[in-house]
Symmetry: D2
Subunit: 143 residues, 4 copies
Amino acid sequence: MIGAPVMSAAEVTAFLDREFPQLLSGHGRFRIEAVGPMTARVRLVYDERHLRPGGTLSGPSMFGLCDVSLYIAILAQIGPVALAVTTNLNINFLRRPQAIDLIGACRLIKLGKRLAVGEVWVYPDGSDDPVAHATGTYSIPPR
Amino acid sequence: MIGAPVMSAAEVTAFLDREFPQLLSGHGRFRIEAVGPMTARVRLVYDERHLRPGGTLSGPSMFGLCDVSLYIAILAQIGPVALAVTTNLNINFLRRPQAIDLIGACRLIKLGKRLAVGEVWVYPDGSDDPVAHATGTYSIPPR
Amino acid sequence: MIGAPVMSAAEVTAFLDREFPQLLSGHGRFRIEAVGPMTARVRLVYDERHLRPGGTLSGPSMFGLCDVSLYIAILAQIGPVALAVTTNLNINFLRRPQAIDLIGACRLIKLGKRLAVGEVWVYPDGSDDPVAHATGTYSIPPR
Amino acid sequence: MIGAPVMSAAEVTAFLDREFPQLLSGHGRFRIEAVGPMTARVRLVYDERHLRPGGTLSGPSMFGLCDVSLYIAILAQIGPVALAVTTNLNINFLRRPQAIDLIGACRLIKLGKRLAVGEVWVYPDGSDDPVAHATGTYSIPPR
């Protein structure tokens, strides 16, 4: 059985702002919209520097959104214990994103003692038609 | 048999600066160091905004370096015919990068009519010890 | 808008039995349980040769189930036009499967002219707890 | 610095035959050709049941060869301590294999305390032209 997250969206945001001041504002500004049992929903605020339809530049932004969404889902679920690190991320780009905010909808598939695996769908804001899909693995340090 | 690239590093740089002015200067400043038969070597110039040891922020930078290195290897090999797009990228993070330039050493594994597949090793400048490894697929538009 | 599949489960089974007589009975016996719009549900019948809890041998069986499920979903959706081939498959193993039939629940994420991308969840029969998750890409020949 | 493997090819073969009698003879007959520092070379003996040019059936065989090659490289390097399990495998299929033995040439990229990452090139016997490339991660149990 999956328990409720131990941190709220506001608590995760406060933790990240304090511990990693540039994480939510580095490669694009991220806003944590919601966390739930094994899930997180993160907004990448549109910025013409990062989302450039027609170019390949939006790849790193979408990668960053997936990576951050996974991290936030893990953090909310297990609490601010220690730094988990990405070990693998596989991303499929489905179509070009529009010049609009992107939403990362993350669900953890597995949350073990040592590894967490999750998937992230990336949607343009207001759309049900995904532009990218990723699966990723985080290594969780011993607690 | 693999032919020589049809564009030099300088020609690819000029093409990208003209067609995609922000590609080499967007998510980190990239410098094309060399292209060869099915290969490219690209430098990501260290920038404290992007490479942050201890944080997870360097993930998108390394992703971007891998993605750009693949694109440059394809472009050099087949010429500036049309825009290839990334369809899949799988990256393994091996250890945290130091605060230093990163080198993307790309080799194309397959260059078909419709798909190109390649791998990229990411090294800290001056080191033989990789910090990441990626494989990626580009879809090549009909010529 | 996603149209209905052009072939039923029985039609896909008959096609595969005729054209690829060993596909459904090669690396494990597969049974097509259902096809729907962009989806397929495929059963891998338990066989002690292939599913060996505790060993690593079940990996190829689960891989095969994912690969076949993707192929069946594509075939049902676009019809028996020509041979699509797997170009990439990424699989995460979540836990060891029990000694029981496995179900591959496939959903196509994208069905373009040249590429199809889909995901497959692998469940032990009767369970909602996945043992593996895969995403894969098929190249679709020109029609 | 990478040390020499602690087991020879013959020792790994004897260990696997004793502990996992069907591993080397299950999904195709595997023969360990060589092990070296962080490397393994494994032969998948051609069997018309498993390698079927023109069909998609050879996918699981090539997957199995990659998976087994990684396992053998890890086992040779760290010894028969405990069962490592595959957590992720990403494979790119480059061209159809001929009806011939396949060689898995594996190199470990990282061998940490908890995770091992490696890549495997799959060649038709006697050819330098790869038919598949995989990267995979094994979780190593506490020792």
